[in-house]
Amino acid sequence: MRNATGVPQRVLIVGGNSEIGASLARAWLRKGTREFVITERVAGRSADLVRELDREGAETTMVLLDATDPASIEPAIEEAWSEADVDVTVVAIGLLGSQRDIEAEPSQAWDVLTVNATASIQIGLEVANRLERQQHGTLVLLSSVAGQRGRRDNYVYGASKAALDTFAEGLQQRFAGSEIGVLVVRPGYVHSKMSAGVDPAPLAVTVEQSRDQILRALEHNREVVWVPSVLGTIFYLFKLLPRRVWATIVAKTR
C-alpha cells in the first residue's frame, strides 16, 4: 500500500540493468521503501544493486524475466505480487539497436520491437490486471521522444516506442477516474550505458535528472512527463509540422 505521504511500500523494477530503474530504486529506498522486486534476464547481473539495497535495510527479491521469452513474463509478474501488493512498477527494459545494423540485418528489428513494444506491452497488461484487482498502484512506462515522429536515424526504435506510447494512452483511459495511475515517460537523449556510442542530442539529460523528473511527476499524479520538460513544448510544435518540413529539419540536424 502506498501510504499517506506517497511512499510506495513495495516497488517492482522490470529491468534491473536499467540505470534509470536502478536510480529510482535507490531514491525510493531513501524515501522509506523497504521492499523491492527486481527482474533480470541473466541471474546475478543486478547483484550490485541488490546488495546495495539490502545493505540499507531493504528486502529485495530477484526474479528472472527474459523479454524475448513470452512464457517467462507472467510467472515473473506473479511472483512479484506473491507476497504483497506492488505499489509502483517501472518497466525499464529497452533496446536501442543501431539503425544502420538493423537496415543491414532486418531480423534485428525483431529484437528491438520485441523488447520495447511486444514484451513491454505484455508486462504492462499483466501489471494492469493486478492493479485493477487491488484498485491502487502506479505503472511507469519508459517511452521516448523518438516515438513522437519518425526520424531517419532511429525509426525502428521510434516505431517500437510509438507502439508503447499508444498502448499507454489507452491504458490510461481504462483506469480513468480510479486510484490507479499510468505514467508515460518521454525522455530525449539521456547520458547512459544505453546511449553510449550515440552522439548526444541537444537538451541531453543525466540519469539523475530523469529520475528526479519522474519522481516529481509521480508525486503530482501526472500522466505524461517529458525529460527535460521543455521537450513537451518542442514536440507539440514538431507534431504540427508537415512531413516535408519535418524531414528537412531532420536532414539538417543529422
Binding site: A4, G6, Q9, D85, H136, G177, E179, H220
Partner: protein
Amino acid sequence: MTKDLEYVSGWGGNPKARTRLVIGSTVADLRQVLLAEHEGSRGVIARGLGRSYGDAAQRSGGTTLEIVRSGEPEWVDRSAGVVRSPAGVSIGELIRFADAEGFFVPVTPGTRYVTIGGAIAADIHGKDHHSVGSFGKHVVSFRLLMANGDIVDVDPTSDLELFNATIGGMGLTGIILDADLRLSPVSGNRLDVDLFRTNDLQATMDALTGAETSHRYSVAWVDMAGGGSAMGRGVVTNGNHTDVRDSGQTLREPILGVPPIWRIGLVNKLTVMAFNEVWFRKAPARPKQVAQSYDSFFYPLDVVRDWNRVYGRGGFLQYQFVLPFQSETLLPRLMESLATGPSPVALAVLKRFGPESDGYLSFPLAGWTLAADIPIPRAPSHLEARLRSIDEILVSAGGRVYLAKDSRLGADLLPEMYPKLIHFTEVRDRVDPGRLFQSDLAARLRL
C-alpha cells in the same frame, strides 16, 4: 472497470481507497457478506463511523463493511453498571443511554462519533487514561463473528489470547457484534474543570504530572506553531465529575458545518500561527475553575461537523506517538523536529498515559503521548522524511505510534514498536488463517 466501487478514506482524507462498500446491520447480513467472499478475495474490513485517521477501516479492491447499529444498548446488570451494546452504537448514544441511570462511559476519545466496535478495535484512550486505562480495560466480554462464520463469546476466561488480540486488534480478528461494558457511576452530568496557561513545555509537563492524582481527566493543548520558548507552551485542562446535574440536554447536536468546497485548504503556516496565538491568549493566565458540560469538556471539535474539510483535498494526518517516561528527556527534541519544516503542526495535544494494557496491539504505555495534526502537502517527501526519523527515534526509545491514527508508518518498524505482535499473529493464524479480514492498514504494515 468495475462500476460498483466507491471511494472511502479515514478522517484524514488520505489515502483513499476504491472499495466495494457494503452496509450491514444484522448478524444475518454480516454473515452473508463474509460467506460471499470467494477464495482469493481481497478481504473484508469492518468500518464504523470512519473516525480512524488513516487507512484502518478501508480495503482497496476488497470489501469495506460499514456496520450500522442493529439495536439499542441494554442493561446486563444495572446496579453494577454493566451494559450490553451493539457494536454500531456510538459513544454519544451510549452516553445518552447511561446518563439516565447515573452512569458515564469509562473512556471517551475527543469525539463522540466513534462506535463501540471501533473503540474496542482501536483500544481507544481518553483524557482519563492515567486514572482508568484504555477502553479495553472496561470490556467484560464481546461476541465476535469469525472468518468461518461462527459466532463466539469472548472473555478473558474463555479465550484470553483472542480477547487480547481483538482489543486493539484493528478489526483483524473478526467482526465485533456487541460487547458488555462496565460503565463509570457518576452523580451529575457536569465537570469541575481547572483551566490555565503554561508558558513553556516544562511548565506544561509539570502541570500534567501534578494533576495525575488530583484529577480523573487531564490533558494539555500545546503550541507547536510558535518557535523558540513558545514551543510547548499550552493550555492545561484538568477535570473531575461533579454531582451537579444540568437539566438541559446531555449532548447537543453540531451547530456548525464546513462545506466541501475547500480544494486548497485553510490550514497553512499563517493561519496555524494565528489560531495557536488566539487559543493561547483566550485561556486564563491564572488557574480558573469552571463548570463544563460533556460537550465543551470532551468534544469541543464536535460542534463543527466535518471540520476535517478545512484541510482541503490533500487531507491531513495525525501523528500520535507515546514516549516512555524513562526517555522523556527526548520529548523536546521530538517536538522540535515535528515542528520544523514546511508543513506546520496545526493542533497538538499532550498527555500522560498510565500503565500499558494487555491488548497485543494496544497503543498506550506509561509515558508521554503527543498527537499532532499536520496538513499533507502536495509534495510530501519532506514531511515523510521528518516523520520517519521520529519513528526511528521512538523505536530506539521503546515508544510507538498509534495505529488508529497512522497512515504512513513503514512495515519494518512495526515489530519493534509492538513487541507483542508475534502473539497477535499467532491468534490470527488460528482464527483467520486465510486472512479474510484485511484492511489497507494491515496490508501496508504487513500485519
